[in-house]
Symmetry: C3
Subunit: 210 residues, 3 copies
């Protein structure tokens, strides 16, 4: 596979899983199907939109590629109506949401970091565009429905993304090809985030202040 | 009237009504007058700002046209102080907010779809820019004051906008002039949304999951 | 000092204090250290990012200048861990947050207004870019953690910024040099906002409507 194809596939994978998480969240909040499509599209396309805005790559990616919108809406509705299958099992649905979110996070970390490098930014900024692309879709999904964002509540979430962005930037600097480094790094982020969920890894917050 | 004049008038109408809705909401939340101006300006100018950002039409529309800011601030203060007239009548104020919002929604649906077409985007993307321009002002208005956005709570809200965006895109594809299609489509969206409010039309959400 | 140096120093001062306020807020909400870095970076760099987006100055300022990110993260962590020093003293921490926010507000008012003027915008729009640059960082900080934004709750907040933006625009129109007008105006905004906090100045909101 060519590098372009690898990134294109990853991009659609990320849009799909974040939009899926948006649809699941919309079902939990008992929004109507159009609300689900909106939350899903915002979650799936939000991170990449922000990345394009900040880097000045305008119009943003989905304006000339309507397939992204199609994938996002389909994924959102799959998550929305699929949630009824696990009716009554709140825990199962929350886990499904968290794993879909983890898949999107993994992929967008790499795509965002690559976009930063491609724009000629400093490695630290490429790491930031990686983390932002990865975290922002979920952030806007949660802010819209008035939850405290998962990125701020979850154990080892931004940190998993940051670690992956750092590994990716280092791998490219060391001369690795993007078509190998990209899926490998995405898998690493997914493994880190998944392990954090399974084993309840946490960073110590400051203890209660009052 | 020329096409440009029609769109310019519609644009100011949309800014006025969304800013008005922002002022009414600010009064309900007992913000101070400056808070009202901020919420009103964000509601009135937010949707068009997002549209310009996504399509890469920078600087955004109000940077070179200070009249929009003037209209938004005046409308916000009209909504804010006008709310005291219906003091004690919570229902009347909520209806005023919803109808002002519906007027803004109708107009911005058409303007956003037209902007997408003018930028050469696919018809599905023009529909998206229509819905986003229409929905985002109200969304940011509600997120700022920490409400679950009307677009996610309301019956037939995004759907009315989507239907209008589809009709507009189809009308232009069939060769209709924008100066006829634009006001006609805006009227259609307003009628749809208004009927949904009056008759309590709803889309079935998934039923309670837990 | 040259004009460029004055604005550059002010810019870092603003990023520092807003990021500091984000770190303090993150500690109050018992987020983990990475959450603090995210909220701090969003608060410190959010206002300038929005300013660059609206004026079309892309890529945004921090893409080519990683030092801003460094300052924001350090300031956020200082605010986060520094909050433990005043453990139990909720009032002291809230005051620290409010004063850090006031320092950021003062500086970004001037920088935002200058950016508007430099882009050739109308004086009223330069005032708007001043207020928006100043208010948006704190707004996004508060929205992310699900608080009603300080800009909407606080006494004489947007108004202090607006007054400063007006004074700055007038001073430049009267031929004053930016290297004098900028720090003087920032000091004025800080004094206004500080006096409002100390003496509890308020604008009369509409009284309770229900």
């Amino acid at each position: 596979m060519s590098v372009e194809l690898v990134f294109s596939v990853l991009d659609f994978v990320g849009v799909f899983f974040f939009a899926l998480s948006g649809g699941i969240l919309a079902a939990r909040k008992t929004l109507d199907p159009f609300g689900a499509a909106i939350v899903g599209a915002a979650a799936g396309m939000g991170g990449g939109t922000l990345r394009d805005l900040f880097l000045g790559a305008l119009p943003v990616f989905w304006v000339d590629a309507p397939a992204y919108l199609g994938v996002a809406v389909v994924a959102a509705l799959v998550g929305y109506y699929g949630s009824t299958i696990v009716r009554g099992e709140r825990g199962a649905r929350q886990r499904a949401l968290a794993w879909a979110d983890a898949a999107g996070l993994s992929v967008f970390t790499v795509i965002g970091a690559e976009a930063g490098l491609a724009a000629g930014a400093h490695w630290s900024i490429a790491m930031l565009t990686g983390v932002m692309s990865a975290a922002f879709g979920g952030l806007i999904r949660d802010v819209i429905v008035n939850d405290v964002p998962l990125v701020l509540r979850a154990e080892i979430y931004a940190l998993a993304s940051l670690a992956g962005a750092g590994v990716y930037v280092a791998a490219i600097a060391l001369g690795l090809s993007g078509e190998i480094a990209a899926p490998a790094t995405a898998a690493l982020v997914f493994a880190l985030r998944g392990a954090a969920m399974i084993f309840n890894w946490t960073l110590p917050p400051v203890s209660k202040l009052d």
